[in-house]
Symmetry: C2
Subunit: 153 residues, 2 copies
């Protein structure tokens, strides 16, 4: 009911805990990068996040963004996604369900998808080879409705 106590799943708290647990230190830069990152909706590159972070903190360095992004992945707040275009992207992970990606090759539009049957069969295939599955990557590439009509404007 209170407005001032931080919510259970407050990313800043989660991150602070993660930092503290490993004897690391919380800094204004890390707080700030996390804050900006949590406002992002889709999949940002380090470069893109760096640009946005810099808007409100001129002195921050690119390397700090890279380093913090790795930490965020470690803490479970972020997740790396490699769409195969040579850039690493990061998306929010906290409190979100696993999902895969459907990517339009015309306009770059990116739809998050989840198909229980696919997920289930992935487990089955792995098991049939005696593997235990830790994770997977599924990217579907195609053309969205708009780009099917008018490809690559």
């Amino acid at each position: 009911m209170s407005q001032s106590s931080p919510p259970k799943g407050d990313p800043q708290v989660i991150f602070a805990d993660y930092i503290a647990e490993r004897g690391l230190k919380m800094t204004p830069q890390r707080r700030h990068i996390l804050e900006v990152f949590m406002r992002q909706d889709g999949h940002v590159t380090s470069e893109e996040l760096y640009a946005k972070v810099k808007d409100s903190c001129k002195t921050i360095g690119q390397a700090t963004v890279y380093r913090t992004l790795k930490l965020l992945c470690g803490s479970g707040l972020a997740k790396e996604a490699d769409f195969g275009d040579g850039l690493l992207r990061y998306e929010r992970q906290q409190g979100r369900d696993h999902h895969d990606h459907l990517i339009c090759e015309g306009c770059g539009r990116n739809v998050e998808i989840l198909d229980p049957t696919i997920e289930k069969h992935q487990e089955a295939v792995a098991r049939s080879h005696g593997f235990t599955l830790t994770h997977h990557k599924l990217y579907l590439y195609g053309l969205c409705p708009r780009c099917q009509v008018k490809p690559r404007p």
Copy 2:
């Protein structure tokens, strides 16, 4: 029946046609790289192929291997695979069915898989978003039977 006439699907012929069609030129280097590539079973990096090619042709350059590999992909004889470890790999594509990959994170072992149900549902998911599918990438990561017992020797 004849031994001397090249088989229908002779890679050298396919590649030569591809080269000729676009006004490019066939060279000993390209022939040689293709020949060595076709002897590879799994998924080779440009570096690995370069090393093998060099065994029998000391003067060949790394760049030529890179360039030829791109051409081979264009001709449909090769296919790029990005397992997410920072290296591009290439596998033979000609006359082979599509397949995905199941990768052991312990020993790097790589099993080719194919699940019709998964394939079918990928199409369905794309269609449900109005997308037409051109291709996809599915990588399953886990531990093979051996590495489950004795992880990372």
